[in-house]
Subunit: 327 residues, 4 copies
């Protein structure tokens, strides 16, 4: 535990937004997808969720299925109402069994809600006409809302960026460095990309386990265009809280790296942000990323191999460092 | 009034946007919901309100009701026009009493406006056809506008954040501090949150009551992720305009704290802002917030109890301070 | 021309975006509404205008009229096509005179374009069916575009701010100051408002008239909340390029003040900008704005009288200054 | 190769986002339109493209054609389904040859999908009714998506800016400068425009060709309003990596200028960015841009001749510089 004492001299930061005792038993602060690992309680469900945020973040298939279910449900409801009013208030219905009658009013309801209005079946009585007048109104509003949701879903600025699954401890300038990398994977381009890296580490203080946070300085923290892959490098030198960490220390210490990136997406013309986290178990000690781009065959472009994002080779690390601390 | 003289030595700020004599008699500058407590006069109503801003800020139920009323009103209007043109210009009308005739043209109007167009009733004469041509056009434009309003309403970036109802004067590092806290309560997350705190205080100057404003420095004014609750702390030390205030001073002085927060919402991908204000009567002297988060049962997440946002305990404060000033 | 020599010693700025000889004969750089007073030539009309920008900036009435005209035009076009195909391809047409036939196909076209589709008239032949299939598609796309335009129009962040018509030279701290003011006039509120003021002045240099630009420092250039009126004050002291200007100098010199404001609108949750310009002829020498807000009757709010925005009183100015320069 | 040695003393930058060996054989880093010259591989096509980004960047004609094709395809599909169900489930069909029957169900499908629903043909059986109920739902959702796409396309903030095709080496203050210019060409105005210029140059280091990047300082890097043309000037003095470059050096060296501009568009109320690149072959040695604006006939406005954006005259350059280096 030599190195734990050591980094106590370094200034920890308090502006991460996480408390020092919020999560001191091995859980993550950030999930892998960058969302805070916190559960909210004490407010009503309706207050706790923004239905719009929920609809926006729902997977595509689920979202479409939900819309279909709502459509069927509303039509069943109105079919019920028309059925209660009586099918004699609807002209053109092919009467028959109760089931047949119900399907006819159901289809009439759908033709009204979607404003198709073939007119084979049409309302004649006052009640049926009034209900269908309201249903058509509701139908159009529903599709107005659906339009907004669709637009909200696909126009929502998202960072189309992938992070390497692992962070590596690699050789760097005769010492070591912590590295991970990221790459945009769609036909977008990101400008003025900026990364912040924070280390969360559980440590014992006066017999109590508390969490400490450190900002890790990066070799390059901001780039003009994020067109290719970008390898984030934190040089593990004397000023790093990770200085002197051995393979065993990485394995035994409860630490987490939280990465935050902000960039400007050209197509959305909007700032987008991304977050990810590397738990101690996702840090590979003694490894090096393989280069993931190379010139094209005609030597006029660059090829970016996105499937190599997390490809690395195990390499020995300079041994002097741990020894240096031991002395 | 010892402390009032005292803070005259501190530099007050003039860039709050509020005048020194705009509001010198006990009213608030900001309402609790963060809107300026000002009434605009001297412009026509239509100019003073942006109908779009009004529609966006209207409660949901009221908004839907308004749309329904507009729908009914427009149909009544067109029903009147068709009725005046004569129901013989409409084919398929089941004629009868005047009331029956009117309901038929009303429903025809609704079927046209919503573009359902069953066709049981259809226009045959030139006038009725021309009016229905225009009504269908108007109908589609109306739903186009409604679509825009719905989207504008739910896509409008809002800060889903709650503030504690009270601000507290709590013990802090052997002295005291002014504290209040806030917490996001929906499934959103806020990045790069930043708070500014301004004190407005009424004071007598040359026999005239004027308002003075002070920026209150905060222990942490910016955090990376606002995922948990965040307690804002203004240390009441020698540099604070509140230094030496006793319980009675807080009760008798006409002061107001104005808090302003700006953050980046991940789902909206947009900056959002929030404001609130604490009037002297909402500041509790000698109290401390109770911790509102704790590890989950399985120790892998953090639980945030949102109903504890304003829960505090009364505690004694260090007594030395007021005495220090008296000397 | 003493003062013209004088301000030659002051550093002029070159980053206004206007050239030094672009406009040296009395015209404005900015129009009163803040748009640059420049005419673009040498590109095709279609390239020079963004139709979307044009549609967004068009007055409301004109915009609605344009939509109606497009609607009528498209229906006339399709009516012509159906007429050429032959009205025998449409079932249910009440034939008669050519005019009557044409009106029938016109109304059929409208019923198709708006997707009302009563069905009294319906296509039977292949050609008429194919054309109506295309027309209904076109109709829906047109209303999709109209929806986008409506939303674009009312969701477009605009600064709801008025500027005083005149800028004044007022007494200020024993010397003089250039002042103008602005006020939000709708139910919006602006945060973090920031103003830049640039002076453009035509001056003779080596016998050639050139334009010089100066940034005018402001007493308060940024405020937290722009809830009330805001008076912009440029103190005319020794460091000001306007120092020593007499009433005659203001009248005879070709100068222009360009004001630029940027703020964050809470409802749009977006940055908004505004610009205006004061030509020499709009600067009133020796006048003072009248206070435009006062406490409400119940002393709990502030009343803002927007119709007083440009109300000022003529006042004498301290005389010493011009004399000081003469010496 | 004297000058290549020379600029090795200057500090190169590493935060461009391009690697030092990504593209060392004469290709560009940025294409002329500002998009990175990189090809992504190793992810599935569906993952590599954001369909929304693709739809937004597609030329207008192609986009409309695609929508029409989708419309026809969906109708063919549903026509097939109705045909399989049997045309006896549809009332009002004019039966005849298979082809005639198929066109009838195709047009019925279109009338359902667009919700025109004339009603001449209408579904009677359960299966046909159920399918048409689903088709009308799908139709409305499709037009909801189309609405979103249209809005997304025209509301997408784009920088309406043109760059001169060439960059020039012009005489400047007795030495030389690298210049290029840009001008907005639509009825928009850009505020707070900011330019960054980066030089990429291939050089030999230890027998290996590597790319080096330099930020080129600009005479004016930020302007208030980009209303007129803006000429970007990089003074080639001792601190410039281009200092001492002769005409032959420009011709023989593999260099590329990457320009990045960020501004705020008033109508979109949004930040917009633009990029372009000048390859060595697009740099004209010894030339000067012709002035592209002049006062209007009535001397009250400025005329901007956009067709002169790339008009320049060949001029001799001061000869002393190359000589100075040779010594």
């Amino acid at each position: 535990m030599a190195m734990l004492k050591k980094f106590r001299n370094l200034k920890s930061v308090e502006n991460t937004g996480f408390g020092t005792n919020s999560n001191n038993t091995g859980g993550r602060f950030l999930n892998k997808d960058g969302k805070p690992n916190a559960i909210k309680r004490g407010v009503a469900l309706a207050d706790r969720y923004s239905w719009y945020h929920t609809m926006l973040q729902m997977p595509r298939g689920k979202f479409l299925l939900l819309l279909l279910c709502i459509y069927i449900f509303i039509n069943l409801l109105f079919a019920g109402i028309y059925y209660l009013i009586g099918i004699d208030h609807l002209a053109g219905v092919n009467t028959g069994s109760s089931w047949k009658n119900f399907t006819e009013v159901f289809f009439f309801s759908a033709q009204t809600f979607t404003t198709v209005g073939y007119g084979r079946i049409s309302p004649v009585g006052f009640m049926a006409s009034a209900v269908s007048t309201f249903e058509a109104f509701l139908g159009l509003l529903s599709f107005a809302i659906a339009t907004g949701l669709f637009y909200g879903r696909f126009a929502r600025p998202q960072i189309h960026l992938r992070f390497s699954k692992n962070a590596l401890i690699s050789p760097y300038k005769g010492e070591t460095a912590l590295m991970f990398r990221m790459s945009p994977f769609k036909n977008n381009s990101l400008s003025e990309a900026e990364v912040q890296l924070t280390l969360a580490i559980s440590t014992e203080e006066n017999g109590k386990v508390v969490d400490k946070f450190f900002n890790l300085p990066l070799e390059i923290a901001k780039i003009n265009i994020l067109a290719m892959s970008w390898t984030i490098v934190h040089h593990i030198n004397e000023k790093s809280p990770l200085y002197g960490f051995t393979k065993e220390d990485f394995a035994n210490t409860d630490l987490e790296l939280m990465a935050f990136i902000k960039a400007f997406d050209d197509v959305y013309s909007n700032s987008v942000i991304g977050r990810t986290s590397y738990h101690a178990s996702e840090i590979v000690y003694g490894a090096k990323f393989r280069l993931m781009y190379h010139p094209s065959e005609d030597k006029r472009s660059t090829i970016l191999d996105l499937d190599k994002l997390n490809v690395f080779d195990h390499v020995p690390l300079p041994a002097s460092e741990a020894a240096a601390i031991a002395n």
